[in-house]
Assembly symmetry: C2
Homo-oligomer: 279 residues x 2
Amino acid sequence: MTQKVAYLGPAGTFTEAAAIKYAPDSELLALTTTRGVVNAVMNREADEGVVPIENSLEGSVTDTLDLLIHDSSLNIANEVVIPIEHCLLVQSDTEMLDIEVIYSHPQALGQCRQYLNQYFPNAVPVSALSTAAAAEQLEQSQTGAAAIGTLRAAELYGLKVLARGIQDNSSNVTRFVVLADTDHVPTGNDKTSLCFAFEEDKPGILHHVLGIFANRGINLLKVESRPTKQSLGRYIFLLDLKGHREDTAIVEALEILSPQVSMLKIFGSYPQYVEDSND
Amino acid sequence: MTQKVAYLGPAGTFTEAAAIKYAPDSELLALTTTRGVVNAVMNREADEGVVPIENSLEGSVTDTLDLLIHDSSLNIANEVVIPIEHCLLVQSDTEMLDIEVIYSHPQALGQCRQYLNQYFPNAVPVSALSTAAAAEQLEQSQTGAAAIGTLRAAELYGLKVLARGIQDNSSNVTRFVVLADTDHVPTGNDKTSLCFAFEEDKPGILHHVLGIFANRGINLLKVESRPTKQSLGRYIFLLDLKGHREDTAIVEALEILSPQVSMLKIFGSYPQYVEDSND
């Protein structure tokens, strides 16, 4: 049976590119929200789900973090990193000088800010739900409009590519996670993602917790905080650790951590992404 | 001379409410971007600027953090906290049953998700640049549209308030910072905000840095990480500490920290916000 992979669609987004890179031979299922992707995997309409979690310029995708923390029982089973190349797309009869409105996802507009300021200082940026939705909006718009999107979106929506690689920063990559019922077996080059919160905010408590890992030589790859949503100034901390949750040092650290926190959720252990020679 | 305070406008947003609360007798200057507010203060068109930095449900306003880190020489001179009360606004001839489209800022739409699902499961949410811009859009729209915005926006744009306090979570507050040329003198109840980065990502280094503060009894109010924008997995850390940068313990901690980091920027020390009895 072909493996089914749900992703945050529509087709033509970078998440579709990540899903194809992760599982080139699987059947892909485009869903409109991250919540929808999680539900599809939880209801077994899909075996796995691919959602964006972090961009090298914009930072974490907080919707995904909050869903993992509060509303999902899925594990992180893998990760994929995709370089982001933004293109300026128009209808076939539109030229540079005609452009008065530019559609895209707010993150994409933000990532091309210098380019837009330089070449289109008077064009109005308009936010769309995704880069692909922006490309789709062009179909309905009068001339004078452009979209920032992928080469794939140009192909899917029959658009002309006026410029490629218009992002301000060439080190623009996005990390995606693969969500599934179970995480990944140890491979020798793994990461473990988890989150925790404290009952009370005692001075030095985060320092103490990081010490539980540091003292065992466990390297911290990422620290992030998200609001508990209960009151301002109370946080949930998310850590990415180097190693697998079955490694002795991590097993021991988590045993010590567990009674000291009011909440501990282990999202899973999975192979750390290694760059392709093609990237 | 009247004090001039720039803020992220337009009028009718929660940022305007924060600016009025902070400086009720000053002349207010509405600007369309956070960058514009920073520039107005740097060019001395305004004495101070008010911008949102953190919401208790959605987390940090990353645009503001990145501007403070990368593109501003201003200090944080104060903070203001405002409770967020969202209202459902319509033109005078629109009733509940007519509503097919709901305009608002994406954060506001997100914060009223349960209310919208319950009462308007079929209405289409449309994003606007601000809650006030959403209210303004109602003026141009046919009946059948509503906006989520403030009571003040209803007043400014002559709209009818169909419902008040429609946010899903009652503990919804936003924290704003006041930016100025200099920070605040010590008051005895202060906070210090700063950021730093490491040349190399050595195991245990964040734990070590937090120890510099913890070992001196300096309480950590907030830890946040933002991408360096140079490569995935490299971060700038932002800390809010309890105390003033002129306090002996903090002076000492910063002297020890400084040679160990590749970048250290102290945004400033300012009085910690104390809730009004009116809030």
